[in-house]
């Protein structure tokens, strides 16, 4: 990602929008005990397209903003989302994946890591009450719901970030496309 005013504005806009929508809308829409969690999806999408360092920076900022506006313990969400952003960013850097449906898997893994790690942090911060086994069901439902929502969120983030990305994700997909196997025999595979 090219660092500059444009990239700050675009990422900042995405984060503020995601956190406000999460708190005012998605958190109030329980479905089978779970809920959509778009903040982690936005962090995963930025990390996926921009890399590990922007990923962990955006994870930290998103967690900070989330804790600030939700009144939760400051630093807990930042800690977990920083790690999630870094992990997704490293995955992209090491594997250089380009399949169009990969955001589904990335969204699911990021959400799973987020809910599990946040639960672990909450336990470490001493939850002074009995914990119902239904928490596990809620986590699973949240992961499934986020998997459904991952593709549109990733597409939206890609469109928003594309002008400031060092490597265009669409160009990467084109690079990975297999050579054409039709046309005159002598030109097959040469993309002429």
């Amino acid at each position: 990602m090219r660092i500059g005013l444009g990239s700050f504005l675009r990422v900042g806009l995405a984060l503020v929008l995601a956190v406000v929508l999460q708190l005012s809308t998605f958190s109030q829409m329980p479905i089978l005990g779970g809920q959509f969690d778009i903040v982690v999806l936005v962090v995963a999408a930025v990390a996926y397209y921009a890399g590990a360092i922007p990923g962990c920076a955006v994870g930290f900022a998103a967690g900070f903003l989330l804790d600030l506006l939700s009144g939760a313990t400051m630093g807990a969400s930042s800690l977990v989302l920083t790690a999630v952003g870094y992990g997704i960013g490293r995955f992209r850097e090491v594997r250089d994946p380009s399949h169009g449906l990969l955001p589904l898997a990335v969204g699911a893994v990021a959400t799973g890591a987020w809910v599990l790690a946040f639960a672990a942090v909450s336990f470490m911060l001493d939850v002074g009450a009995t914990v119902s086994p239904l928490v596990l069901r809620d986590m699973l439902v949240t992961v499934l719901l986020n998997t459904l929502l991952a593709l549109p969120i990733f597409i939206g983030c890609r469109k928003l970030l594309r002008p400031v990305l060092a490597v265009d994700p669409l160009a990467r997909s084109a690079r990975r496309r297999p050579p054409r196997d039709t046309g005159p025999i002598g030109l097959r595979g040469l993309e002429i």
Partner: protein, 304 residues
């Protein structure tokens, strides 16, 4: 050489952000309620409150639509009825139902004040929920009334029931834990930090209502003593005075109904299960009791 530099920079970035997070976490726990990060939270919440209020109102039909879908899946027994409702789902209907839901909750709250045993003279302030905590570990909501409306710390908050067939119109939802000029944060009784002194009516057994994290429809009445508890008994706030001080909640606010009395659990843990009257999963409107009020003459006398 270049690679090593990039690796070092990447790792340094991760370490810096993780260390920052841990430093903030430590500072937050170490400071008092008036410390820097708490003040920063209050300021940010006040700044973003108008945006959240706008977004919350604008997207309410969407929430109701999704909430409706969730309820459909939940209520397997009402499948046939819900299938008929699919045909009725239109944009106009969504708006109408939004209004109906608000009216129903307000009606429930009015009914709650008229209930036998409810404390009198509590001077309720009606408020709309504008935001909700994003996970099960922190159970809180934000409302659009604050100190300028008379809302203060530790005041009790009540909410309506979603079940119109029940004998109670609603019950205790939580208490005020943070106030700004135009907004306030309500920590719900399903939050891990909350404990409410309670009494079972009409048996008179007393205990402390604690949440079961992750299941908003199940509360625990811990440390039950002083009487035998039966299923379907009503649980209300006790308002007891103890050596520590007087309970924050006035006597007589309905909390829930006892749903499960396991004799083994009662003997070993002195604990029974209850279901809250207030629908804590989907709250749109609440009332803050801005004055403690006085217990009714018939305080705690409820028909089971």
């Amino acid at each position: 050489m270049q690679d090593r530099k990039a690796i070092r920079r990447r790792r340094a970035g991760l370490v810096v952000f993780l260390a920052l997070s841990i430093a903030i976490l430590t500072a937050y726990f170490g400071e008092s309620g008036g410390g820097f990060f708490h003040a920063l939270q209050r300021g940010a919440q006040e700044t973003f409150a108008p945006i959240e209020t706008g977004a919350s109102r604008a997207l309410k039909p969407v929430r109701d639509l999704v909430g409706w879908v969730g309820d459909t899946v939940d209520a397997k027994d009402e499948n046939a009825q819900l299938e008929r409702e699919v045909d009725e789902l239109r944009a106009e209907l969504a708006r109408t139902r939004t209004a109906q839901r608000d009216a129903s909750q307000l009606k429930g709250l009015v009914g709650l004040h008229k209930e036998e045993g409810f404390p009198q003279g509590t001077k309720p302030v009606t408020a709309r929920v504008i935001a909700r905590s994003p996970n099960v570990w922190y159970s809180s909501i934000k409302i659009d009334k604050g100190s300028s409306d008379g809302v203060e710390l530790d005041q009790p908050v009540i909410a309506a029931s979603s079940d119109d067939s029940g004998p109670s119109a609603g019950g205790l939802a939580g208490k005020i834990t943070r106030v700004t000029g135009g907004t306030a944060e309500v920590t719900l009784i399903t939050d891990a930090s909350i404990g409410v002194g309670a009494q079972v009516m009409p048996a008179g057994a007393a205990g402390v209502v604690r949440p079961e994290v992750g299941d908003p429809r199940d509360l625990l009445l811990d440390l039950v003593h002083g009487g035998r508890v039966t299923e379907n008994a009503i649980v209300v706030t006790s308002g007891f005075k103890t050596a520590v001080g007087q309970s924050l909640f006035p006597r007589g606010i309905p909390i829930g109904r006892v749903t499960d009395v396991d004799l083994d659990e009662v003997e070993i843990y002195q604990r029974v299960h209850l279901r809250p009257f207030a629908d804590l999963r989907r709250i749109d409107i609440v009332q803050v009791l801005t004055r403690r009020g006085t217990p009714a003459q018939t305080a705690g006398v409820f028909q089971p």
